[in-house]
Symmetry: C4
């Protein structure tokens, strides 16, 4: 039954990640192209940040669900809450890109982006709590095989983003650097995942 939970989640992840590109408008043809593209750096930075944010959540969702043994209604519901935080990401992304681009209320837009990522991290942690509390997972294999950085992310993610929100209010470009580099770092950590062959060949 976990197949369908994955299929619906994969759909939401794939759509949110693919639609991000439609927030970047092509430069109008009445100006020079290369400066026009350079002037859109904020939109490209926001694109990369949110692409890896969503993509790395997909990676950790994939890794976690590899060890799921069954699903129950409670997991379906908290997973739905988690998918709401993922599906909504295009909104704070566009806000961040637009304000960074226009220079208006940049700190606030950066902080709101971080707040949404904080909420996403908290919701992801709640999903893991439900999985553990309802005993839905092969916990031994998960703790042995999943990269430690990934598990830590679930528990520390909230703290790290709370700090990022405060940083955003005083130094928005430092926060931007964090938003872009952070998920890529976690992606590289998650890339260490080596499931045992037996499990990997099972499906």
């Amino acid at each position: 039954m976990k197949g369908r939970l994955e299929a619906f989640a994969d759909g939401v992840f794939a759509i949110a990640i693919t639609l991000l590109v439609f927030e970047i408008k092509i430069p109008p043809s009445d100006g020079a192209l290369l400066p026009g593209l350079a002037g859109q750096w904020a939109f490209f930075a926001a694109y990369v940040a949110s692409f890896f944010q969503i993509g790395v959540y997909w990676m950790s969702h994939h890794i976690t669900s590899t060890y799921l043994r069954r699903v129950d209604g409670r997991l379906l519901f908290v997973n739905l809450l988690f998918l709401l935080t993922i599906a909504f990401i295009p909104f704070p992304t566009e806000l961040l890109a637009d304000r960074l681009s226009s220079g208006v209320e940049v700190n606030l837009a950066m902080a709101l982006y971080g707040l949404w990522m904080l909420l996403t991290a908290v919701t992801a942690a709640v999903v893991l709590v439900v999985i553990l509390r309802d005993d839905l997972m092969d916990k031994t294999a998960y703790l042995r095989e999943a990269p430690a950085a990934l598990t830590r992310r679930y528990w520390l993610g909230g703290v790290v983003y709370a700090v990022a929100v405060i940083v955003a209010l005083v130094a928005p470009l430092v926060a931007l650097l964090f938003y872009v580099v952070g998920p890529i770092y976690y992606g590289i950590e998650a890339a260490r995942w080596q499931p045992t062959s037996r499990r990997a060949e099972a499906t």
Copy 2:
């Protein structure tokens, strides 16, 4: 064969639920951001209402199809009608948000939203009728395991939304409260679902 019915349905559910966010425009940068966001409360309320509406239908579609033994052409066709009602939800959602925001013909927009949800509930009930009439489901297990509130929703959903339509015409904000709280309540009820281990581990 039910895998493909689920895959197509999951696609439509996932796309409809993820595209809802694109109906919310970011506030223009020539005004203050926080008041701008607050001024969009109607769009956020409509977003939450329709997100959970679609999400909880996904949950009940998932739970019901867990007990499907086979599919036939009739189920494919009524399921297509049901997916039409789901795929169209972005239209009444935007109408509700826009009219609530502008204050023009609010009652009518709220009633039309409720009418569409009524149609969705009726179509969902037709799907269940076809499943039962064509004997496509392990009915005993379904009735034993599926939360009673969910089954009742199929049969009472129409009545409840018919009442909501009438309420919308006299007190649109009460109807809005119902549209937002209703699906979340059903989501929490559906979260009680506990399939027997054997079945859950089968797929």
Copy 3:
């Protein structure tokens, strides 16, 4: 391996069918709502026509692929051509709705819509030819179980749409009626599909 052909096709079908609703704009709030919605009848008619067009192709794709035993590169390629005709449907749909609405060059827009449906029908027939020529299907079971109207559609679909194109040039509203009623009729025919239990329970 046919699972992935189905997953990609299901994605394209689901996205094309769900995005159709975004071609219908909500009536502006400076006019009365009900007359505004009535004035959009052309967009609703085009929506229903293309929703069932895509939906019924999904049904027949589902039914055909039930009997697939394997896939080869040739099937992947002609299936890609077929998916191009499906993915492009939103364009002639919007053209039909817009011209029907503005009353400008209605006959031509209706004929172009029919021409695209003709191309879609021809491409669907080519897919079936490849399946048969490369012997990829359990042909005996398919011919015994698939509704005759569905098989006929593959072979006659082209002829019927060629007639519709000519009708569109002289009586566009008759063609519109055909575009709306035709796919619904085929959907009802396809709903007669009764796979043998053994096959249906296999997946």
Copy 4:
């Protein structure tokens, strides 16, 4: 476990390929329709180029993953990078169509399109390198069964697109011809794929 990698990838491929059509606006109704459509030739050419570009990458992704035995974290991560290059294709596509249409900085827009395709080809090659280095694939069967042109594409794709970028700077229409014909040629080559029956019937 490879099922989920495929499902997420199929989602991104299907969404990117289906959304391309929304970059083509219908001609306004205040001009003649047929000349209006003819005036949009650049948008149709760009559509066909990118549709087959994405579609043929899907075909080769499908063929390659048929021979995957297992996945690891590294494959998930480089596959995510590859999907970024696919998901971003609508941006250079719209740029190419717009500049080809307006005649402004055509060479540069054509070269940027080629540069993105070069990056996509390089990323696709990196995916194959990871698959081979981490020994995730049944290499013997892959090399025996996959069309040689497809394997060559992985290694030569970069070179060919680097040439196309230079050609674009001097003769953009020659590059356009290449962008349109190239992927179709590879699609026809990939259509030669004949998996052994045993493997093909396994899933």
